[in-house]
Amino acid sequence: MSTKAKARPATAPVVFTANRLRDGRVVWLGTAGLWRDAITETVPFAPEAAETGLALARQGERDQHVVGVYAVEVDLAGPTPLKFRERLRVQGPSVAAEAA
């Protein structure tokens, strides 16, 4: 999968997200290379350590646990993604009828 963070070096702390292979649900890279459901359980990497984080995240792809790994720049409070798209990934669809 393409990663936007790879194309442009991170300038803010990053966390890693992917979709879980089995059910496609959004997951976040936590401690010990484990993939977690909640962004609050993720481990942020400093911008200069983003490459190290990416290598760890890719292991999840090689182990066939997750699909489509990429880095997400965050504000450490939360952490909260800087971009709207990933904030939606955290929240789920913003539309009421199907939110479950």
């Binding site: 979709n19 292979l21 059910d23 496609g24 959004v26 709207f84 669809p93 009828a97 199907e98 479950a100």
Partner: protein
């Protein structure tokens, strides 16, 4: 095997044993591939093309399964089964798309084989709903019912389906390929913005032939199609279509995804494209492609008129609320005493095109009771019961109301097309659905909607334009501006006989101000309209300036 009983008179194409065996083989094959993927034996790079061939996408929050609804036709057993799938394997909803298909947004990879089995029980599948192949042909939702129909397009849509399904030469086209066909002089299928748009018609001798347009499309480069031929005789239909596809397949620009659609080729080559198709057509072994009248008749038998009763036209029930609904939703039928009913999937504040499992089942029941068990999906993301007795309309309305499906807004400003946008789609640059929800809430008053009259608002969440924003009276395109959503507005588009691409009116609006912008456009129209004018008429008469001035005037 078909475990469910079909309504006897629903005119959907019935699979034969060969079709069913083929489907079972495909499911078994994909089941094996999924098992190997889950066991880690296939990588995502290896698996992705396989899942896409089976209609399975990976979206923002989950996998999405796109199920083909051939030319938008369903029978009640099929719709009921879609409801069951929504309840069992999704979150209780399905989303009807502008391609007359349905998508399940919360699919789990491990559930897919069971979902495909459930679909196969009712002769449905998800094959060819993705990838660079010929996709589901779309057609007129009032086919076989509308008084203005000259030729029944379902027959030829089914012929196109059989011809294009697994066509060995056209499995790897330069890009996806979408065909729309209508058999009425009034275009309800947006024929001129499809890769190929077909108008089936008759000559003075009553013979069937086809007017062929090619190279239309929306997306990054919206283009109105070019007419290639005014008349292709019925027997030569597939030969001519094959010639169009061959020229495209040979010359389409595979190396550049933005230039790979047929519209770019047709635009660049102009008349030369037409000539190349003609030359290809001339040298084709016509006999091999000749459409045998017996085959046409055999397929036509699947779409024979249902056993209509001999009835007289009737006056509508006097209930004013019912009449308001009927004025928007009920349409004339070719058979005296009958009508077609459009069911709005656009409740105020709702998600355009979404139906709950309960609603799908309710519509299936109502279709059985009132419309020979037949349902159509429209490219505007609504449903149609094609053949309803006028004497049953009041009872049908009662049933629809009980299911929350009687919003009387068909063709009005809250009958909005919206793609899934960033709430679901991995390609999106902005959300579409909440914009549609907020616009419909702003214009919730039915009296106001009726006063505004026909007005089409279409919203896309990225330049791919699945929400057909270019051909809306008011088109809204969500784009990303430094990580935030903003919305561009186009005016004056049309998807009917007078097809036109809307004009970009000026700088984009924020998520918070876009609904006010729409309101300003509407008040400007109301201030300028003369009696009898729709939004689009006023826009065409007065031009863009008053709208621009109203939107961008300094406060």
């Amino acid at each position: 095997m078909n475990a469910l009983t079909y309504p006897p008179h629903a005119r959907t194409y019935r699979y034969d044993e060969i079709d069913r065996e083929f489907l079972q083989e495909r499911i078994a094959e994909f089941r094996g591939q999924i098992e190997r993927r889950l066991a880690g034996e296939l990588t995502e790079d290896e698996f992705k093309p396989l899942r896409l061939m089976n209609g399975l996408y990976l979206q923002l929050h989950a996998y999405m399964l796109r199920v083909a609804i051939p030319y938008g036709l369903l029978n009640s057993a099929q719709l009921r089964q879609l409801g069951r799938i929504a309840r069992r394997w999704d979150r209780g909803f399905g989303h009807f798309t502008t391609r007359q298909n349905i998508q399940f947004n919360w699919t789990k990879l491990e559930d897919v084989p069971a979902m495909l089995e459930a679909l196969a029980e009712v002769d449905m599948h998800a094959i060819q709903t993705s990838g660079n192949c010929i996709r589901n042909t779309t057609t007129d939702e009032y086919a076989g019912a509308t008084p203005d129909e000259v030729v029944d397009p379902r027959v030829y849509a089914e012929i196109l389906r059989q011809w294009s399904t697994l066509h060995p030469e056209f499995t790897w086209l330069p890009r996806k390929f979408k065909i729309a066909i209508t058999g009425s002089p009034n275009d309800r299928v947006a024929a001129q913005v499809h890769d190929v748009g077909v108008l089936a018609k008759r000559n003075e001798r009553g013979e069937v032939g086809f007017e062929i347009h090619a190279g239309g499309g929306l997306g990054r480069t919206p283009i109105i199609a070019r007419k290639l031929r005014d008349w292709v005789p019925e027997a030569e239909f597939l030969a001519y279509m094959e010639a169009v596809l061959r020229v495209y397949n040979a010359l389409g620009q595979r190396e550049n995804i933005y230039k790979a659609r047929i519209k770019i080729l047709v635009r660049d080559l102009g008349d030369e494209f037409t000539q190349m198709v003609e030359r290809e057509y001339e040298r084709m072994p016509r006999d091999r492609y000749r459409l045998d009248p017996e085959i046409v008749a055999a397929i036509g038998a699947h779409f024979a008129p249902p056993p209509f009763a001999s009835l007289e036209d009737q006056a509508l029930h006097a209930d004013p609320e019912f009449r308001q609904w009927a004025s928007a939703s009920v349409r004339a039928h070719r058979q005296p005493g009958y009508a077609s009913v459009t069911i709005s999937l656009k409740p105020i504040g709702g998600i355009p095109g979404d139906a709950s499992a309960d609603q799908m089942e309710a519509v299936a029941d109502l279709a059985e009771r009132h419309s020979f068990g037949e349902i159509r999906v429209t490219h505007v993301q609504n449903l149609v019961l094609p053949h309803v007795r006028q004497e049953d309309l009041y009872a049908l309305w009662g049933g629809l109301r009980a299911a929350g499906l009687a919003t009387p807004n068909i063709g009005l400003i809250s009958d909005i097309i919206a793609c899934p946008g960033m709430d679901y789609c991995a390609l999106a640059t902005a959300r579409s659905i909440p914009i549609a929800q907020r616009i419909s809430e702003r214009f919730a008053s039915l009296d106001r909607q009726h006063d505004i009259g026909e007005c089409f608002i279409n919203i896309s969440g990225c330049i791919n334009a699945c929400g057909h924003h270019h051909v809306a009276h008011i088109g809204i395109l969500g784009v990303d501006k430094r990580g935030e959503e903003v919305y561009q507005v186009t005016l004056g588009g049309s998807a009917t006989n007078d097809a036109a691409i809307g004009e970009l009116i000026g700088p984009a609006f924020s998520y918070d101000t876009i609904v006010d912008a729409v309101e300003t456009l509407i008040t400007t129209y109301i201030a300028h309209r003369v009696p009898g004018e729709r939004f689009i008429d006023t826009y065409r008469r007065v031009g863009v300036t008053p709208f621009k001035d109203a939107l961008y005037a300094p406060a």
